[in-house]
Symmetry: C2
Subunit: 477 residues, 2 copies
């Protein structure tokens, strides 16, 4: 009861102190301050507006594209408007450009004269190219790496289709990330393994839920030296090809003409809100600027960048200054190279110990239930005030893991910087992920506000926490 009474009083005190001086003492991690952050985030459409600007005005933002360049400028400008100290960190990025793509089933048992069947597909990032008029080859359908191995003698000169279903049931049980991991191993490793035993091209069944004839692209894992044409076919087309292959020999014509251009100049956008007491200690809030080229990447990851930007907006609205520096990073090139994260890590390797924690939102903008963190087990209890502040919006869960191993933060994490990410409902994320359907209308404005609340409260908490939250101790696999 006493405590409840003191909260508004302290809040008023903090506010009046801030009114006196911009260099006022931080209100710190007092429940009143964390509650105000939460409520301010929940009352704002700032992140929604930034997500809309990035997706509606720019659209797709694959590394090296005009869209990616425009996004760098848009985010830098917006951060400057918030009064942040903005740096553009140069990053050389891969520049892969989609070309023509066409699949056609041209021979199969029972095919009426004059009939061919269209296959809807999209080249995977890093795919090699066919000749302009394509290749024609027999299709081998395999359902596992073991089957590929067992049938290795048949692969030479043929097109291998990895027809492995996404585990929708697993995704609906709250294990979407694991389901994605299981499926995407075929996208990430399949083309290379097929190339190594002489396949003419590799196709993977799209990794994701919701079957609406949409290819889910993504990176192929192919490297120079063994670069074959590789594409994701839709779930429907993978099933069709499997059914036809069961009837007898199946041949297809495949045209994929992507190009690998010289590495392009790009940037991480880095914006600092300097700390009042310990400006050399840093808490990162981040998302990635680049997206795949099929859609406007609203969930992946405009919403993540916008939420990170909104941390600054929320604190500015409250006129709160953190004790440590909060650094917003809009990473470049998460999708096909993580060059932005690598560049940052190289530059900051010696300084890794000064990074208290790094937050990234890169699992879509589904409803947040709380926070994931790669802090030591002993530190978990420190986060109770943060959990208490987020509980009123249903985001009070604290899930500790040894490592989050996310794309952009895994290097920092291995260097000891604990990773943080909103704990989200991702049950529908992989319905849209890496497809043409990852668009603004799929983002729920209210969930996005909750997202900002989690990101801002967490960043603030880490930037002001007294006791050290400990270092990440990523187990060596």
């Amino acid at each position: 009861m006493n405590r409840r009474i003191r909260i508004p009083a302290l809040g008023l005190l903090a506010a009046s102190l801030l009114a006196v001086s911009a260099q006022a003492a931080s209100p710190g991690n007092h429940p009143a301050a964390l509650g105000k952050i939460r409520d301010t985030a929940m009352a704002s459409d700032y992140a929604w507006e930034r997500t809309a600007d990035m997706t509606d005005l720019i659209g797709p933002r694959l590394s090296g594209s005009a869209g990616a360049a425009a996004a760098v400028n848009q985010v830098a400008d917006a951060m400057r408007k918030l009064g942040a100290r903005v740096t553009l960190q140069p990053v050389k990025v891969p520049h892969w450009v989609r070309g023509e793509e066409k699949g056609e089933l041209v021979e199969y048992r029972g095919r009426p004269s004059g009939i061919t069947q269209r296959v809807v597909l999209s080249a995977l990032g890093g795919s090699g190219a066919t000749p302009a008029d394509g290749i024609k080859a027999e299709v081998i359908v395999v359902s596992s790496f073991d089957e590929l191995k067992a049938r290795a003698a048949e692969v030479k000169g043929r097109i291998v289709l990895f027809d492995v279903p996404f585990d929708q049931h697993m995704a609906e049980r709250g294990l979407a990330g694991q389901a994605y991991g299981q499926g995407s191993t075929y996208r990430v490793n399949g083309p290379r393994l097929a190339a190594e035993i002489g396949a003419a091209a590799a196709l993977v069944r799209s990794v994701g839920g919701a079957n609406y004839r949409l290819p889910h692209t993504g990176n192929s894992g192919l490297q120079d030296g063994a670069r074959i044409p590789a594409a994701a076919v839709t779930v429907e087309d993978a099933m069709l090809m499997s059914r036809l292959a069961k009837r007898g020999p199946l041949s297809m014509r495949l045209v994929l003409t992507p190009q690998i251009l010289p590495d392009a100049d790009s940037y991480n956008v880095i914006a600092d809100l300097p700390g009042t007491d310990k400006p050399d200690e840093v808490v990162i809030v981040s998302g990635h600027l680049d997206s795949w080229d099929l859609a406007t990447g609203a969930h992946d990851d405009a919403a993540g960048v916008a939420s990170a930007m909104a941390v600054f907006d929320t604190l500015k609205k409250l006129d709160y200054r953190p004790r440590r520096t909060i650094r917003m990073i809009a990473w470049m090139n998460e999708e096909n190279g993580t060059r932005g994260a690598r560049t940052y890590l190289e530059a900051q390797q010696a300084n890794a110990g000064k990074h208290i924690g790094a937050i990234e939102s890169d699992n879509g903008a589904g409803r947040p239930f709380g926070l994931r963190a790669s802090v030591p087990a002993a530190s978990a209890k420190l986060f109770a005030p943060l959990q208490a502040a987020l509980q009123p919006i249903g985001a009070g869960v604290f899930q500790r893991q040894d490592a989050l191993a996310t794309g952009d933060l895994s290097g920092l994490e291995r260097a000891g910087v604990p990773s943080f990410a909103p704990l989200l409902d991702t049950s529908t994320y992989f319905d849209y992920h890496h497809t043409a359907a990852d668009t603004l209308d799929k983002v729920d404005p209210d969930n996005l506000r909750r997202h900002v609340a989690v990101m801002t409260a967490t960043a603030w908490f880490l930037a002001n926490v007294e006791e050290p939250v400990g270092r990440a101790n990523v187990p060596v696999k």
Copy 2:
């Protein structure tokens, strides 16, 4: 209790009679016969196999295409295999061929230099063409015909977008057909109305549920003389265009190069199972052979045709011969002209009185709950034995309407022939309808068996019923 005991006895009797002679008397509408029909249908994959043949081996079947021609042959061959008397009824069909299609938002407020936004769209059937390099024009977004009228002065030379949402909530409440009717009026009438007041082109927001960046095509209602380019844009793109138009003037480049070729020769496939007592009296079971060109038309309407074919297969398995002739018709050109139905009606106009009823399945292969029928109110009670036979598979509902007014049967219905159709769960039908995602994997084999049970039992019932079920009396609107 007595009745229960007599059923198997009579069933055995019927079976032994049939064993003696293929020309044995019809077992008629006895509950045992209707029950056997139901159970035989529920034990068979015949319709599934025919749906797979049509979709996997042939694929899309737009009128005039090689696919449509192949489907005529495939169905005719299969019906001959079932011992039916097959006639190919010549039909002249429209021959509209999709060309290149491309939409790009090239000017809008806030557009970064070098950026344009892709619009995913598909030409509507009967659409006119732009020049090969497209047109560029400002976009006017309207949300109703009233708004089009109010803004008529702005339309000339511009591209009109009808941005009217599909009522998903209505569809989920079991009123999908009504929701589709509300939405499709903009597709069917919008382009013409826009053309009449000088629009350069017309776009409609896709009519259907499930937003996965899929255009839902369909017929435009455009005629020679006022034929402008017309396309369905995806729900996502319609929303994007509306949002951008709210920011300021919006211009797009539109390329649509469909062609209207001379009418093509095609056919209705008509297969008769002659009646034993009244061979000149006819009961039609039907679906339509043609499909839109974006997908393999599994729900619309391969499953319908396959179910109609399976009526013959089911009766053949039972060695049941109807008193009246059962006529399977695979209609040609339901989607963009209903020329098949018109041709049949013209040929049979004088004979309409001999048509006892006509069944068509053309609402997808969702789970059947019963039967819809345009019989006189006084006749509804006659169908009790049919309802009783279908009740064990949950399909015992009988829904009488003054008119079903379905595409292929409405002419016959106006001529007094009662229409019948399975009463279906259509809550997800419009998620796939007229899109690239209307594929075999969306058809549930068990629902398809139930479909066949309803179709066969209904056809059999009508072919053997003693009392006249009455004539359709379609109200003049």
